[in-house]
Symmetry: C2
Subunit: 283 residues, 2 copies
């Protein structure tokens, strides 16, 4: 038995499974206008943030997710200068974006300012670049932001969202991707987290279809481990406006002037490799 | 709360985490001279076998583990004819080995015959090749088998064992690897499951050191997702007697005349890619 006391447990109904993390103590909780935030200190995962009872980030394994949401897209783009992050309130993706010297502007549009303020307190590593002069944090609706965005104003758009239910569902729609397409400049790339290949293949398939329908010329799904998300295996799906995603700036990635813990050019290529069951399952 | 009733739960003490699978019913249990076997029908993972309360195999995700324990080693060998499996009582690795037309003999040495007999009843897919004329099943101690093995009698040795505690601990020792080295012919390869890179890096490091100390010229660690094992991220470590493991029979792998669901040449290369933190963590 896993009791409620002393453990955090997330049940994934569609997976028929649950993942539990042993806790030291709850250090913060609050109801925001949008969701319930809880922060725990854990035995082995460092600090844990949950939103409405779902794991968002842990100290232990967030590096894989954040690095894979950012570096493949930025190294696949020839010269990423203007980057937009939709969601991403814990600021881990923003930090990775700002490691790139080519980036002149990194805008982040998070619905819930409290997620960012709480992260600033409990995840100082993830938020360490929030005061970078290239960073601009907006707290408003990402779907409306994209609908209003100036055409050809971004090089890379990163959709670092919660699961495609509730307010985040619109971030997986063809209409939203059309707005992304319009807002991207030549060679522009959008990337979004796309759930587990073992349990959510239909979501990935539908997302890939919506991206193609919105006009993107190439679509690619990266897969990588993510211990604290359902099934421990996760994906990000990229789409490029007008070029192939098979190529990326390998030399720049090999000689990057910043540290990573998971990403390198070999892992970029590895994440693009498609297990034998992918083509049929992901359409 | 995850109650005992209706759920199977495995707690990983050193991970500070637990993984639970929703059950339909328990369909079998028995105490053997070696361990306690339980078989469940689950909501979404198909049939589940546990040994002493630890997940061994589920219908849902065993294909990744079994394919990655077998095909990289067999395609890295120029002409694998004689294959030995130590452990592997569920016979899933044996089935993958026998898919290779080069294989003339596949011997399996499992300590606990009951694991195989129970698997024949509850995992008919995994055991479907047990009557292949090239297969020979022995039920005895694998450590002693290796100590007594004729020199230069195998091309590939697959150590498909439980965790390195209790009776399986000896399967991770330098002495055992020396016996493997002796029993392998030229170009011979040994491969063993080597736990989670996120939580058991010290085991992988010690295993790699023991393999090198035993005389193996090249050592490589493959990483792949495995949802139902702790952390959802797993490894297998290969060692070759006298050649590099970077090369493998890519053409043969690309034109294999048997189906797989995870393995293909791109996934072989992908699994060999080393995340940025591996070199330091794995020594």
């Amino acid at each position: 038995m896993i009791p409620d006391s002393g453990w955090f447990t997330e049940i994934c109904e569609e997976c028929g499974s649950a993942f539990s993390i042993k806790l030291k103590e709850k250090v913060h909780e609050e109801q925001t206008p949008y969701q319930y935030i809880e922060i725990y200190e854990t035995e082995t995962f460092g600090t844990l943030m949950t939103l409405d009872g779902l794991v968002m980030v842990t100290d232990k394994d967030n590096f894989i997710y954040h690095e894979m949401m950012v570096h493949p897209a930025l190294f696949a783009h020839p010269d990423p200068k203007r980057v937009l992050i939709i969601g991403g309130g814990d600021c881990g993706s923003l930090r990775e974006v700002l490691k790139h010297g080519t980036v002149e502007l990194a805008e982040q549009v998070e619905l819930d300012e409290r997620v960012t303020r709480v992260s600033e307190k409990f995840f100082p590593e993830l938020t360490e670049s929030n005061n970078d002069p290239r960073a601009r944090l907006h707290f408003t609706d990402g779907i409306k932001w994209m609908a209003d965005a100036k055409p050809e104003s971004y090089d890379v758009i990163i959709v670092d969202s919660t699961d495609p239910v509730g307010p985040a569902a619109g971030l997986f729609s063809e209409a939203f991707y059309r707005d992304c397409f319009k807002a991207l400049r030549a060679h522009g790339i959008v990337v979004g987290q796309s759930e587990s290949p073992l349990f959510h293949a239909s979501i990935i398939k539908s997302m890939r279809g919506a991206l193609r329908a919105a006009g993107f010329q190439d679509v690619a799904t990266l897969n990588f481990p993510q211990c604290s998300y359902p099934s421990g295996w996760w994906t990000a799906t990229l789409a490029c406006k007008d070029a192939s995603l098979s190529d990326f700036r390998q030399d720049a990635a090999a000689h990057k002037d910043f540290p990573t813990r998971y990403y390198n050019p070999a892992m970029h290529t590895a994440a693009l490799a498609t297990p034998e069951f992918f083509p049929e399952a992901l359409g």
